[in-house]
Amino acid sequence: MRTRTPAARNALNAAGMLVLLAALLGICVLSVLVGARDMAASDVIKGLFVFDGSTEHLVVWESRVPRTLIGLFVGPALGVCGALIQAFTRNPLADPGILGVNAGASFAVTIAVGLFGITSASGYVWFAFAGALIVTVAVYVLGATGRSGITPEKLTLAGVAISAVLGGVASAITLKNREAFDSVRFWAVGSLAGRSLETLWAIVPFIVVGLVLAIAISRSLNVIALGDDLGRSLGARVDVTRVLTIASVTLLAGGATAVAGPIAFVGLMVPHAVRWFTGPDQRWIIPYSMVAAAILLLVSDVVGRILLPSAELRVGIMTAVIGAPILILLARRRMAHGL
């Protein structure tokens, strides 16, 4: 990549951000206008502002607006979470699931279905959220204690270990229980559809706190990227930053998974793709990841809706179908960078 002066680089990044925001606005409009039911754009707009209780207007308010809004919160949560966890573990393979968030949420939902017989999506939300929080704290305690403090390597291994145990037990429960298997196989593929706005509003505060935390620590993350010792001597509070990072990751990933179910790949791919454009500055990577992840999620949702109106192409499937070719192209075209 050519070297630019910091000012030119910032100007370029700011311009890129405007383009991304415009694209996000466009896809939001599209997400409300396009769907399985064929409706004229004028009808949809009328429904948005002058609700008259007709089926068309109900579709707009009960289905299209909620899934767009859910995408607008879940996407940024996943993208930022991925950026944080990759910066934190310095591992390009790290995704939000690495700290056990998805495993904890899935385990809790499996227990909810398998033992308590809960089968409504709104009933899962708090199980998923609580499972995610408890497991992340357990991973943190296991990985962070000891003489060396919080090291990325130990935390990664702790997350892998606990996720594995929970995943194994959860699969064992579902393979022995047909009803649980059937419910969990659908929950386990994230979707923006079929969630109510109340569910979203209940979780949104956690996601917002997580996003604000992430932006607040982005400067310190830049310093820590130079290495723990150098970071400390430059005045960064390494341990505080790490605790805040994990708090933010937990809120974001836990919240996103509770609302939409596990959505793989977004958190892994978006920061990689973004980093190739912005360079290594977390103060740009984090906001870029926010917007780009929302775009990826909403585009995937809209394309899934258009390709198969029966709602079987859930967003958790489409994100990889749309995102993977982009990631591979980027990896081939640009100079490969480490973290």
């Binding site: 591992n91 390009p92 393979l93 790290a94 296991l142 990985g143 204690t145 000891g146 003489r147 060396s148 390597e153 130990k154 990664t156 291994l157 702790a158 892998v160 270990a161 606990i162 996720s163 594995a164 145990v165 995943g167 194994g168 037990v169 699969s171 064992a172 393979l175 022995k176 047909r178 298997f181 059937d182 196989r185 659908f186 386990a188 593929v189 793989a264 790949f265 892994l268 791919m269 990689h272 079987e312 192409l313 859930r314 958790g316 499937i317 489409m318 994100t319 990889a320 179908v321 995102g323 993977a324 070719p325 990631l327 591979i328 990896a331 081939r332 490969a336 960078h337 480490g338």
Partner: protein, 361 residues
């Protein structure tokens, strides 16, 4: 020897032994240019693992719906005793046990190689989409073609896995394969295939999905001598390549430049190691389905137990074999796919190791 001129020739200077901080032995072959440094702790650990493996093996052969004594098992193994006992031990229980041990060895070595090539503790054949591809191949056979035949599913999984690995390698190739690009392309292709797999499991009915998911967890159920024969032949054919590649891999861990300076052909080592590691995993997937986690955890456990840096292929293989044999012993008791037990048991052990490290410090 008398002094010549003004120079005196003394006895050759013997350098003082280097203190590595660990006790060990150096073995040198007399005729061939080969030597090995054996670490004492590693030897003790591997010996202990083999003892555990033997105990688990005897237990596996003895315990089941039809309980046998250790004496009966041993005499059956030597061709003595009742023919019914011989049938149970030699024809039914032994091949499954040997397959578990062989799969454990193959997966552990494959994982150690991948972690070395990618220089990443999370590196495993899954990284280049091998497992996702194998699962796709098997799902196509099971759900699209609608066949439940063992050999067709095995063929589907091998073709799927190898094709995926080849595609990832080619997509990541630009005048050489750099570790980071390989990982990224692998993530992309793997995620794409995982999406197809999830989609398949969502659109079929729940009973078909359970059968497919059980295969996807990895299971040694209903395997016998028919499967063990070809499996062992391929495994034994692959092991010499692993031995030949090991020095190059160790040098590669110093970094590409240092390894090249030491005379190692980095790119060639990486290509051949990838091929061997992929073949090892594909072999296991064909026999038993994608048994996850052993490849990831066995090298890590071996490293933590021996305290040695580097590849540690023998220790990894010993851990892998013991882990999978133990897991299959448990899996037979609770009637679940062995893959689920490896994940839980391996995870618990890794947690225990981390806790112990905490207590020690």
């Amino acid at each position: 020897m008398p002094p010549v001129g003004d120079r005196s020739v003394s006895a050759p200077v013997v350098p003082p032994p280097v203190d590595f901080g660990r006790r060990g032995y150096v073995v040198r072959a007399r005729r061939v240019a080969a030597s090995a440094r054996l670490d004492r702790r590693a030897i003790v650990i591997v010996a202990a693992l083999i003892v555990v493996l033997l105990v688990v093996s005897v237990a596996t052969l003895a315990i089941g719906t039809y309980q046998l004594t250790v004496g009966e098992v041993v005499s059956a193994l030597f061709g003595q005793g009742e023919s019914r006992v011989r049938l149970i031990v030699v024809e039914w229980r032994l091949p499954r046990l040997l397959l578990a041990i062989g799969c454990g060895i193959a997966l552990a070595i494959s994982g150690a190689i991948f972690q070395s090539i990618t220089r990443n503790p999370l590196g495993s054949p899954d990284v280049i989409g091998l497992d996702a591809g194998a699962y796709t191949g098997a799902l196509v056979v099971m759900l699209v073609i609608g066949s439940g035949s063992y050999s067709l599913i095995a063929a589907g999984s091998v073709i799927g896995g190898l094709a995926t690995a080849a595609v990832v390698y080619l997509l990541a190739y630009r005048g050489g394969v750099e570790g980071f690009r390989l990982i990224i392309v692998g993530i992309g292709v793997g995620a794409l295939l995982a999406s197809f797999n999830t989609y398949f499991l969502l659109i079929v009915d729940v009973n078909q999905a359970i059968v497919a998911a059980s295969w996807g967890a990895g299971s040694l159920n209903a395997l016998g001598w028919d499967q063990l024969g070809p499996f062992s032949l391929v495994l034994l054919a692959l092991l010499p390549f692993v031995v030949a590649l090991a020095p190059g891999l160790s040098q590669g861990e110093l970094g590409d430049d240092a390894a090249q300076a030491l005379g190692s052909n980095v790119e060639r080592t990486r290509l051949f190691s990838t091929i061997v590691a992929v073949a090892l995993t594909a072999l296991v997937t064909a026999a038993a389905g994608p048994i996850s986690f052993i490849a990831l955890v066995a090298p890590q456990l071996a490293k933590r137990m021996t305290g040695l840096p580097g590849l540690g292929l023998v220790a990894s293989a010993a851990v892998g074999a013991t882990l999978l044999a133990t897991a299959d012993f448990i899996a037979q008791r609770i009637a679940l796919p062995v893959g689920l037990v490896t994940v839980s048991a391996g995870g618990c052990y890794l947690i225990w190791l981390l806790v112990r490290e905490y207590r020690r410090s």
